[in-house]
């Protein structure tokens, strides 16, 4: 048993937390501004596919990363326009984007790389295994600072709490929301890029496998605050790391079936949501389009 608890577990936890953290911080900006972002999964997929495809063609992961960020923002802008301009229900719009992003990368991959299942593999020299990790963890204090120590952050929070008040104070509610949703697309895009050109070396169909949703859960668990959200992401990363280490380990002579180990993060998410979130209060205007009579 104790061979499990080693330094490698810590690294594994950090690696597995990174995409969650990037997406969750993205979600944080969007949700603090009042726009539910259940589309994180789709935004990550956009980033993952684009980063892999562009890195393959350009032979340069930095261009790939940038492309991943832009792709995340582009898809986020669909969510933004639907929710902000057309006042679509934010959960439904997010769900649509998630479905869209299962389809689009596969469609493009099929068209460009002859297989809708995966993109070509990228050589090791063109991978960026650590940069996104560093970015993710640096973003935590940065996000804290932006949120609580800059005019932008003040406005962002105001828009998510009481858009009417922000509007009356001369803040452009929709402008702030567009900025926030685009920012969330950028960060989720980095998270996706990390999956395809950091953690592994290609894009495969639906490769996020639910990470966007776990990130959202982490954001809620972290009560929409950057540091707590990071801790939540580390917790989820840790459960996943442990679940990997636990595979094949015998407990009382019996091997724990794989399936039971794999559902640990999901069960944990539910337990956390149901049990621990308790008094957490979402940004008050979360989910409500700002409708101003004209």
């Amino acid at each position: 048993m104790n061979e499990i608890f080693k330094l490698s577990l810590i690294f594994s936890t950090i690696r597995l937390s990174t995409p969650l953290l990037l997406a969750a911080l993205g979600g944080l900006y969007s949700e603090r501004a009042g726009v539910i972002n259940i589309a994180l999964e789709g935004l990550m997929l956009a980033g993952a596919f684009t980063a892999a495809a562009v890195t393959h063609y350009a032979g340069n992961p930095w261009i790939g990363l940038l492309a991943g960020i832009l792709a995340g923002m582009a898809v986020a802008s669909i969510h933004a326009v639907a929710c902000i301009r057309y006042k679509a229900d934010q959960v439904v719009s997010g769900t649509a984007i998630n479905i869209l992003m299962i389809g689009v990368p596969a469609l493009l991959s099929g068209a460009f790389f002859l297989s809708s299942g995966s993109t070509p593999q990228i050589p090791k020299d063109n991978l960026i295994p650590w940069t996104p990790v560093v970015i993710a963890f640096l973003l935590v204090p940065l996000t804290w600072y932006v949120l609580y120590r800059t005019p932008f952050g003040l406005r962002l929070r105001a828009v998510g709490e009481n858009p009417g008040a922000a509007d009356a104070a001369g803040v452009s509610v929709n402008g702030m929301r567009y900025a926030a949703v685009l920012l969330s697309g950028a960060l989720a895009g980095i998270g996706g890029a990390y999956l395809s050109i950091g953690q592994s070396s290609l894009f495969t169909r639906n490769m996020t496998s639910g990470r966007g949703f776990i990130a959202l859960a982490a954001l809620i668990f972290g009560k929409w605050r950057p540091v707590q959200t990071m801790l939540a992401c580390l917790l989820f990363g840790f459960t996943e790391a442990i679940s990997i280490q636990l595979q094949g380990v015998k407990v009382g002579g019996e091997e724990i079936p794989n399936q039971f180990i794999q559902i640990i993060p999901y069960v944990l998410t539910i337990v956390v949501l149901a049990g621990f979130i308790g008094q957490a209060r979402a940004p008050r205007a979360l989910g409500m389009p700002y409708q101003k009579e004209r």
Binding site: P151, F152, L154, A165, A168, A169, V171, R284
Partner: protein
């Protein structure tokens, strides 16, 4: 300083502003008066860039200006304090004040500097508030000061105040007027919206009167009087006294004993140790500044507060109903006209028939053979209700959303009267309702009382509670601080009690 020329604004079928022209001279306090719905707020919101006018123009300091957003208005030195405060509850006073006009660079928010500036401003205008305090922990009066500071912080030269006194007690109103006069002395211009004539006469230099979306008059305050203004406002002579015979109170229907309600979030609010009785055939009024526990009281009596948040006892016709749910209480004969008809009272997307059975939808006659709804019977009843309570338009298939506020209110009242109730809990029965409907509703309430129903009435309109009630309880900080005879007590005395002054002080 500010001039509106021929401003027109339509909301769907409602012509809210019809070629409205207002001239506000610099350095004056200008009052805009009019009844509910006259279009006062709309006109001023257009001046502040909150709404866009369909026609007309805005002139600031002699120049025609385009004010498309509040941002434009702020840049022109216009500030506005809205009828419903525009504050972010979860932020501090300082954060609220600087929001949108932050000191420091884009990369840093210099709240220290802000606090200093706010301090200077509060000294200048004697508007003391703690910049570090969380807005949600402030009293309404303090929140209003924050709103004023917000405008001043943005160097507003013109302040538009939309019904600033509605939430204040008479004493607070006095203090507030002192502040306004001080502002005038400092060279600021003030527009104050109100429909209380006494206030107009006390504070303003000039008055613009509005009715039905139009400006019907503009006079110097020194050259007019209350009667003239009232006639302009209403277009006829007004009589806002409710004619009612003395109550013949019978047995005790409701007995509240040491009722306490704890509100989970929101610090001070709640209800503490409240005891009183309501007897059959009387109207007991609750007077108090909004947010002093009235909502909690009514909701607790209606069974809408979770048992874990309450202590004490509620007896109805001698039976302890403290632990029963809303449905049981309704079945026992407790009807409830809620304070917010959109939040509680109606299913806006449901049609009138469907709304007419809310609360009795599961039993005779809405349901004939369990569990099917008897749509024919429901329709017949809805048509009856619509007729008896003069709900217009008289079409049971319309969604409730399509009705005006007054008609929505009549629908709710009709539904609750049809229970029929032994005890009626009624909150803000005439809020946002036109004069005709107010009279109708008042008559209905008195009629119900005379049939022997016990009525508990909560209203923010002091005039209304004093006129309708047979007994009046004053609530302050969640406690009943006094019981007074509405016929024997002046509004000033009640006002003092509402702010926490003792009864001894009054006598």
């Amino acid at each position: 300083m500010l001039e509106l020329r021929e401003i027109t604004k339509r909301f769907g079928d409602v012509l809210a502003n019809d070629r409205v022209s207002v001239v506000v001279e610099p350095g004056t306090i200008h009052a805009i008066v009019g009844e509910n719905g006259a279009g006062k707020s709309t006109a001023m919101r257009i001046a502040y860039g909150f709404y866009t006018a369909d026609g007309g123009e805005i002139v600031v300091d002699g120049e025609v200006r385009k004010i498309a957003t509040p941002h434009d208005a702020i840049a022109l030195g216009i500030g506005m304090v809205h009828q419903h405060f525009m504050l972010v509850d979860t932020m501090t006073v300082a954060e609220n004040i600087v929001l949108g006009a932050e000191p420091g660079s884009a990369a840093t928010l210099d709240l220290q500097k802000a606090a200093r500036e706010i301090g200077a401003l509060s000294d200048e205008f004697k508007l003391s508030v703690d910049p570090e305090a969380m807005v949600e922990n402030l009293s309404v009066g303090q929140q209003q000061r924050v709103e004023l500071l917000k405008a001043l912080y943005r160097h507003a030269r013109l302040l538009i105040l939309d019904e600033p006194t509605a939430v204040l007690t008479p004493q607070e109103v006095e203090e507030f007027f002192i502040i306004l006069r001080r502002m005038r002395e400092q060279g600021k211009t003030v527009v104050i919206i109100t429909h209380k004539l006494s206030e107009v006469l006390a504070i303003s230099d000039e008055v613009t009167v509005m009715r039905d979306g139009r400006v019907v008059g503009r006079v110097k305050t020194s050259e007019t009087n209350a009667a003239e203004l009232a006639r302009m406002m209403v277009g006829r002579d007004v009589l806002l006294r409710v004619e009612k015979p003395d109550a013949r109170a019978g047995r005790t229907v409701l007995s509240v004993k040491r009722l306490t309600v704890v509100v989970r979030s929101g610090g001070e609010r709640g209800l503490r140790d409240v005891s009183f009785d309501v007897r059959a055939g009387e109207i007991v009024g609750i007077a108090g500044v909004e947010g002093n526990g009235q909502t909690e009281l009514v909701e607790a009596l209606a069974g809408l507060v979770h048992a874990s948040q309450t202590s004490g006892a509620i007896e109805f016709e001698g039976r302890d109903i403290t632990r029963t749910d809303a449905r049981t209480r309704h079945e026992l004969g407790i009807a409830h006209i809620p304070e917010d008809r959109h939040r509680r009272g109606l299913l806006l997307d449901f049609d009138l028939s469907e709304n007419s059975i809310l609360g009795v939808h599961y039993r005779e006659p809405a349901v004939s053979r369990s569990p099917m709804l008897d749509t024919a019977a429901i329709r017949v009843r809805a048509l009856e209700l619509i007729k008896d309570f003069d709900v217009r338009p008289a079409n049971p298939d319309l969604p409730a959303r399509a009705l005006s506020g007054g008609n929505q209110q009549k629908l709710i009242i009709g539904r609750e009267f049809g229970l029929p109730p032994k005890l009626l809990l009624v909150s803000q029965p005439t809020r946002g309702v036109d004069i005709g409907a107010i009279e109708f509703i008042h008559r209905k309430l008195v009629g119900l009382r005379d049939e022997g129903c016990a009525i508990l009435l909560v209203s923010a309109e002091l005039e209304e509670v004093t006129a309708l009630s047979d007994r009046l309880l004053v609530i302050h900080h969640g406690r009943i601080v006094a019981e007074v005879d509405p016929k024997q007590t002046t509004n000033e005395e009640i006002g003092l009690l509402m702010t926490g002054g003792s009864k001894a002080n009054v006598e």
